[in-house]
Amino acid sequence: MSNTGRSTVPLLAARDLVKAHGRTEALRGASVELRAGEILAVTGASGSGKSTLLHCLAGIVRPDTGSVTYGGERLDQLPEQRLSELRRTEFGVVFQFGQLIPELTALDNVALPLLLAGARRQEAQAKAGEWLERFGVRGQEELRPGEMSGGQAQRAALARALVTGPKIVFADEPTGALDSLASEQVMTALTHTARESGTAVLLITHDAQVAAYADREVRLADGAVTPLEVAA
């Protein structure tokens, strides 16, 4: 697994990230690489710094020290406006819940990133409709997130994350609030689409069955990456 990295430059690389929330250190020198098109699971106990790692990698928060490099740019040094633009165009984000605007219909929620990019409403809605269909959300376009089941809402959230054709999707416990069947449907939809379109996925989960959808696993403990295999 260590040889494949040589030929391909990592798409996203984090080195020695340190981040403290108040007096508690969430990250203590974590380093992670994400290659183009790969699905990487980050696992660990609650409080091990998984979400903070995702926030640093996606440019949502800045690490106290350490670097995050994406496409030759240092995310930890970019101005907030450029970060916001990156998150909107090159990245997609899916959380456990809450990423859909409760007042907008499923269709408008998925169309929102396109509208933000300046698309016309009709075009944006047409494309959003295609993506909803791709994720098996049919006949629910006009429903608001609160009126959908958890699994349907999460699939709509995936459609919103992928509608702009991002390079990386960041998913923070995307199945955390779902039962196992809905969770399976969401994960299958996510991994199929990501593999089809060559989108890299950084998947945060505490659930080994969800992590098993990934190509590779990184394990966090106490804010740092632990070696997975024993040194030979």
């Binding site: 929330h21 979400s51 926030h55 996606a58 949502i60 928060v61 406006q81 916001s84 633009e85 990156l86 998150r87 909107r88 165009t89 990245f91 997609g92 984000v93 959380f95 456990q96 819940f97 809450g98 990423q99 605007i101 409760p102 007042e103 907008l104 219909t105 408008d108 929102l112 990133p113 509208l115 933000l116 016309r120 409403r121 608001r144 609160g146 919103r160 994350a161 923070d172």
Partner: protein
């Protein structure tokens, strides 16, 4: 009762900052209401002609005092609106807490009593402070107040906390009904219920009734003491009626406007704002109604004031000295400005509260790359959209009132001034400024730290 009181105190002490805001603002509103009530009670107790060393002779004549009472009663309307808005601060959290109390086994009655105690105590503090200062002031300007004045003061000081507790207990009846119903999610604000409709109808009947009695008794003048009492009541009832109708209008037009704009919006900020209006049209209805009322009164007053000043300046021989007129006008103007300030703070409080309840979702939006400028614009549009047509209407109404009045009086008016037409524009601008005060809060709300509680 002792246990309830202790529980109410424990819960309040352990609650977060927003609940303290609610309590402080409620106490402030109660103090204002008490102050106005005390002033009314004292002025009512003055009989016949007096020489009051206060207010440039405005309080000397019974008919003038009546005007002052009307103005004071009208000031109560925005104060009540302000109190209504304050009750919403941290309300989601409070409702959840009360539901949790029910889950823990408290009887509906007990929960209602705890909530009523909380509101009642806040009102009591406000009322007590206002009463003490008012009495001190009164004793300085009036050596030996009548017993009637003391009675009125005592009545008002007790009535405000009792009313506060009652309203709070009544408004919580749905929260208290089910231990689970309100715990789960933030719901859109309910539209005015049957009670509100009943109040609207009652007010309308009252206004018509009082009007009929007054006019049938004596079509032009209010001479006897019954009419003296009825005239301010009539004006108060009518202005309350306009206020509650404005609530209906504001909610209804928000929904219509939201629906129309949501289907046509091309810009994301407009789309978000329109869908929010459609989803929760009653959220800001009360504040917007107060804005409408202040605008109607403000526009009409500005016009009447300009016309009156022209008349005063053009007339050489006045019945009273010049300051009698200008003081009256200035006092009324000050009252309207206070009303505007109260309404604007209610608006700012409402916007901040709307933001605070949504902060987790907003943080998620910002994390997903929705620019803060779009979120901020959506927030401002949420206030700006429904207010624009409403203020246009209110401005037109106010203008109609003063232009009608100016054409009715036969003094030397001169040209009817058009400057007061700018009042609605100014009100609109200050409303936008008031809701813009929440923008720094938006900036703080979208911090990724909020995501940690997802």
């Amino acid at each position: 009762m002792r246990a309830d009181l202790r529980l109410a105190w424990l819960l309040t002490r352990g609650s977060d900052r927003r609940e303290w805001w609610r309590i402080t603002l409620t106490a402030l509103g109660a103090a204002l209401a008490t102050g106005i009530g005390l002033a009314v009670a004292t002025i009512i107790s003055i009989r016949g002609q007096y020489s009051v060393s206060f207010g440039s002779g405005l309080l000397d004549q019974p008919s003038d005092r009546q005007g002052v009472i009307i103005a004071l009663l009208m000031l109560l309307v925005p104060v009540l609106g302000f109190l209504g808005q304050c009750a919403r601060v941290g309300a989601v959290h409070r409702d959840r807490r009360l539901a949790a109390l029910r889950l823990a086994g408290a009887a509906p009655r007990q929960v209602r009593r705890i909530a009523a105690l909380e509101a009642g105590l806040a009102c009591l503090v406000g009322s007590a402070v206002a009463t003490v200062f008012s009495v001190l002031l009164l004793l300085r300007v009036w050596q030996d107040p009548e017993p009637l004045a003391w009675l009125g003061i005592a009545l008002v000081a007790v009535a405000v906390p009792v009313l506060g507790a009652t309203v709070s207990a009544l408004s919580l009846r749905r929260v208290v009904a089910s231990p689970l119903g309100w715990v789960r999610r933030v719901r859109p604000t309910r539209g005015p219920g049957r009670a509100f409709l009943a109040v609207t109808v009652l007010l309308a009947v009252m206004a018509v009734g009082i009007g009929l009695i007054a006019f049938l008794g004596d079509p032009l003048f209010f001479h006897n003491s019954l009419d003296m009492a009825l005239a301010p009541l009539l004006v108060f009832a009518i202005s309350l009626l306009i206020g509650v109708s404005a609530v209906w209008l504001a909610g209804w037009s928000s929904r219509r406007l939201g629906a129309v704009l949501a289907t046509r919006a091309q810009r994301p900020a407009l789309l978000i704002a329109a869908e929010r209006l459609r989803d929760d049209p009653w959220a800001a209805a009360r504040t917007h109604a107060a804005v409408l009322l202040v605008t109607v009164v403000g526009t009409a007053f500005a016009g009447i004031r300009t016309v009156l000043l022209q008349v005063v300046n053009n007339t050489e021989y006045l019945a009273e000295n010049r300051s009698y007129y200008t003081t009256g006008l200035d006092l009324s103007g000050a009252a309207i400005l206070i009303a505007l300030a109260l309404t604007l703070s209610a608006l700012a409080v409402g916007t901040a509260e709307a933001l605070a309840t949504r902060r987790r979702g907003l943080a998620a939006q910002a994390a997903a790359g929705v620019p803060q400028s779009v979120l901020g614009r959506a927030l401002l549009l949420e206030t700006a959209l429904p207010l624009a047509p409403a203020l246009l209407l209110a401005g037109a109404g106010g203008t109609a009132i003063y232009v009608g009045w100016a054409t009715m009086i036969d003094d030397a008016v001169g040209a009817i001034p058009l400057v007061p037409v700018l009042v609605p524009v100014a009100v609109y601008a200050t409303c936008l400024l008031a809701s813009a005060t929440s923008l720094p809060l938006l900036h703080r709300s979208v911090r990724p730290a909020e995501l940690r509680y997802v």
